[in-house]
């Protein structure tokens, strides 16, 4: 395989949110964390469900199900931890977690451009096993969530 082929056929982590599969670039994924305690405290940041503690670090958890599936999902007990860039040109990274159902797999494939009229948080699509899987842009997804009506401000800590 040539260097260019390698570049095009990247590795992706496929994850389940709600009933749908999505993909994240494998290089951005840190780990799939087991069901650990979700800690809550009052805040007003949309989409943030709380924090988990992994390897001595405090990792924010984004509940992206309302944005991706239109509703919260109760079956997500694992956490997929991926790096999220901050700053205008992504100067800093911070691990961020997404609740998933634990069925994550690694796949290789070539990303195609996103479908027409796809939300901006879909960076493209992957054709895997006769399925078109949307590739998530985590940065844009959580920014879109800030304006999502379902992700209402929740200062009260959730149980």
């Amino acid at each position: 395989m040539s260097g260019a082929d390698k570049q095009a056929r990247k590795s992706w982590v496929l994850l389940h949110v709600g009933n749908r599969r999505f993909a994240l670039p494998a290089e951005s994924v840190v780990e799939l964390a087991p069901p650990v305690r979700l800690h809550n405290f009052p805040h007003t940041s949309r989409l943030l469900a709380g924090v988990i503690v992994r390897r001595g670090r405090i990792v924010p958890v984004y509940d992206v199900a309302p944005v991706l599936c239109g509703r919260e999902s109760s079956v997500h007990r694992f956490y997929l931890i991926a790096e999220r860039a901050f700053g205008l040109s992504g100067e800093t990274n911070e691990p961020s977690a997404i609740p998933v159902n634990g069925e994550c797999e690694l796949a290789t494939g070539e990303m195609q451009p996103p479908q027409q009229n796809a939300p901006s948080y879909f960076a493209g699509t992957l054709a895997i096993e006769n399925e078109n899987i949307d590739v998530l842009d985590l940065q844009k997804l959580v920014s879109a969530g800030s304006n999502h009506p379902d992700a209402a401000i929740q200062a009260e800590a959730r149980p």
């Binding site: 405290f41 009052p42 007003t44 800030s146 009260e156």
Partner: protein, 177 residues
């Protein structure tokens, strides 16, 4: 030599840890640096000294108290953090900042060795509320910023309102006399 080495490591440990007070508002536990708190009083003991005030722009403050010739604005912890209204029994009177905070209970004091930065993902008002987070006995507890309860603008509004209250009281006193 050995004893001296132990002493210096003890001193290092002591320097690197920080005493915090853990307190509760509703079901939520918060931490505040112990040296940021001047006094902890029961609401009953302060009730007589508290002067009612209502300011639509700062609804979380309903009382002021005079302590050592200073006016402290009493902030409802529930209202500040957007928590369900409870019946506070204690007041934390802060040091250096003219704020007192209504809380439900004191859990205990603790020594913490590390205050984690609030993750950048938190972009709301909590950036003004919290200095960071501590991980203590399998709990993540936010550490309060003492100066995060009231903004400079809110202090200015409250100061104007308290002067008006003072003037009204003086006038009422003069009329009675």
């Amino acid at each position: 030599m050995k004893i001296a080495a132990q002493d210096s490591s003890k001193a290092r440990r002591a320097r690197s840890s920080e005493a915090v007070i853990l307190f509760c508002i509703g079901t939520q536990t918060f931490a505040i640096a112990a040296d940021a708190v001047q006094e902890i009083r029961s609401t009953d003991s302060l009730a007589a000294a508290a002067i009612e005030m209502e300011l639509a722009e700062v609804p979380k403050v309903r009382h002021l108290v005079e302590r050592s010739h200073r006016t402290y604005y009493v902030v409802s912890g529930c209202a500040h953090f957007g928590l369900r209204v409870t019946r506070p029994t204690l007041v934390l009177i802060l040091r250096q900042i003219r704020t007192a905070v209504l809380v439900d209970s004191i859990e205990r004091m603790a020594d913490v060795s590390q205050v984690h930065a609030l993750p950048q993902a938190f972009q709301g008002e909590e950036r003004h509320w919290y200095r960071g987070l501590i991980y203590l006995e399998d709990r993540v507890i936010p550490v309060i910023k003492p100066d995060g309860f009231l903004t400079r603008e809110e202090f200015a509004r409250l100061d104007r309102a308290s002067k008006a209250i003072e003037a009204r009281h003086e006038m009422e006193g003069a009329m009675r006399a």
